[in-house]
């Protein structure tokens, strides 16, 4: 952020622009960069997902488009989706039907603002960054409900109801799992959380104490459910609900949902890398020559882990899903919070 501010000031001369103009320029540049990164990730991950699925199921996946292993398949899919007709069902509520995809994408994109990519390079260095990320993600839930209801389709409504119920339930263990880390750092600022993990792998929060390790596993399971993927893809079970809340969507509006899904996948993986896996710090101290790259590699590894889980485990039932959240994961997360607190007190790290 500061780097960009200085750059823009030096381009336009030191005192030519007011502070507000500089701020607006920097903010819109960062937003554009984030959007491009997000769209690129969605492109690459759709292709990667199909290749990973193919690998796990002993087949090839896309092989034809492009030359090497069908790398251009995602680009071709994107072009196809851009050229599709935008259909709004006659019985749908036009305004909310059109607005829902925007809301869903907005919720995903806003959360990206507080991700610290490398020292000093974060779009919005908010004092309560982590809390902000969880808060704006709730826009996605309202967007899902809006999409499901305005489609005027029973599958869509079922999908939306399931999705919203699942997401508000799993938000609790997700946030609770991050609380021990916040206790250790003494700050909600995302940059501070990463800086607190300096100095090699053993200083990453996963390996600090056993409670944090359990919290990381809780976070990972909750994050799969939060992104409606893997064994928890109840909102879009194709065998019962056609496609869930985006059954009626076509063309660009469908692409918004798709983009948001993969953006969320990468977002929760980046948060895992940031909160538990040391952010931009390399596993061995002294190797921190490419902080942003280290951070992105960690995020991508988490995404691959996510895909592995998705294509390995069978889908759970709705009641099992709720049972797992409310009766297993929330108590364990709470034990982690208390346990990490006691551990901090006994090891003399409290009051940091």
């Amino acid at each position: 952020m500061e780097i960009l501010t200085d750059l823009i000031r030096s381009w336009f001369g030191p005192d030519k622009m007011s502070d507000q103009a500089v701020f607006i320029t920097v903010a819109s540049t960062m937003a554009t960069i984030m959007f491009i990164v997000m769209a690129l990730c969605a492109l690459i991950f759709t292709w990667a997902e199909r290749k990973v699925a193919g690998f796990i199921q002993s087949r090839y996946g896309p092989m034809r488009t492009g030359r090497w292993h069908g790398w251009a398949q995602a680009v071709a899919d994107m072009l196809k989706i851009l050229g599709k007709e935008d259909i709004i069902p006659a019985e749908a509520n036009r305004f909310f039907f059109s607005f829902a995809p925007i809301l869903v994408l907005l919720g995903s994109l806003l959360a990206w603002a507080a991700i610290p990519w490398s020292p000093g390079f974060v779009s919005a260095d908010l004092d309560l960054g982590l809390f902000y990320i969880f808060a704006v993600s709730s826009l996605v839930i309202v967007g899902l409900l809006m999409a499901g209801w305005s489609s005027n389709n029973k599958w869509a409504l079922y999908g939306a109801a399931r999705g919203a119920a699942q997401m508000i339930s799993y938000e609790i263990p997700l946030a609770l799992a991050c609380i021990p880390v916040v206790m250790y750092t003494g700050s909600l600022n995302t940059t501070d959380i990463v800086i607190a993990q300096q100095g090699g792998m053993l200083n990453w929060f996963v390996f600090r104490n056993p409670f944090l390790f359990v919290a990381f596993i809780m976070y990972f399971i909750a994050s799969i459910a939060e992104t409606n993927r893997g064994p928890f893809d109840m909102p879009e079970t194709e065998s019962e609900l056609v496609a869930g809340y985006h059954t009626e969507y076509t063309g660009m509006r469908f692409a918004f949902f798709f983009l948001s899904e993969y953006a969320n996948l990468f977002l929760v993986s980046l948060i895992a890398a940031m909160v538990f896996l040391g952010g931009w710090w390399a596993p061995i101290p002294g190797l921190d020559f490419a902080p942003a790259l280290t951070f992105i590699i960690k995020g991508v590894l988490m995404v691959l882990l996510n895909m592995w889980v998705r294509w390995t485990l069978p889908r759970v039932r709705v009641d099992q899903l709720m049972h797992l959240c409310w009766k297993v994961m929330i108590p364990i997360s709470l034990i982690c919070v208390v346990g990490a607190g006691i551990w901090m007190m006994l090891s003399g790290q409290a009051g940091a």
Partner: protein
């Protein structure tokens, strides 16, 4: 100047949907309009430098209350609320009441000598709020937690299956195993 513009934009975002929340014939539309009002209020908080309050507003009202409201409203399936009759007369009492409250609030707010503090750049508030919760306001904080715990236990007891009727063999569903 810009600050004024931001304020008016946020006020518009709060008030216009608020009008539709009250006047919409379709109760689900009212729920969705509430989203924009709540976002507007969160924006106003952020504009006033209350960052923690703004994000909490988003988290609690948009992520929690609004989703629950929408859930219940969608389940009830009332396509269009019928006008309950009575014509203009039924607007009279609420109208008079609303005008009275507005006049009172206006008189109080314009008559009060507000303490004006020059703050300059808005500062982060989270640490101050957290420290106050754990020191000066520990009693109200714990008291509210207790009320919420009671509400949680109450909800769990209300949905508990009566003894003897087992669902799908998942017998532990009956236990009042409430965690908080």
């Amino acid at each position: 100047m810009t600050a004024d513009l931001i304020f008016y934009a946020l006020a518009l975002l709060t008030l216009v949907p608020a009008f539709w929340v009250v006047n919409s014939r379709n109760i689900v539309h009212a729920g969705f309009n509430l989203l924009f009002t709540l976002l507007g209020v969160a924006g106003l908080f952020a504009w006033l430098g209350a960052d923690f309050l703004a994000v909490t507003q988003l988290m609690v009202y948009v992520g929690g209350v609004l989703v629950l409201v929408l859930f219940t409203v969608m389940m009830t399936r009332v396509p269009r609320a019928e006008g309950s009759g009575g014509g203009a007369a039924r607007y009279l009492a609420p109208g008079v009441l609303a005008l009275g409250v507005f006049a009172l609030l206006f008189k109080v707010s314009s008559g009060t000598q507000w303490a004006v503090v020059e703050t300059g750049e808005p500062l982060p508030t989270t640490a101050i709020i957290g420290a106050n919760f754990m020191t000066n306001y520990i009693f109200p904080f714990e008291y509210v937690s207790l009320v919420l715990l009671v509400a949680l236990i109450g909800a769990a007891i209300l949905i508990r299956e009566p003894k003897g009727i087992s669902g799908d063999g998942d017998s532990e569903a009956g236990d009042a195993e409430v965690q908080s």
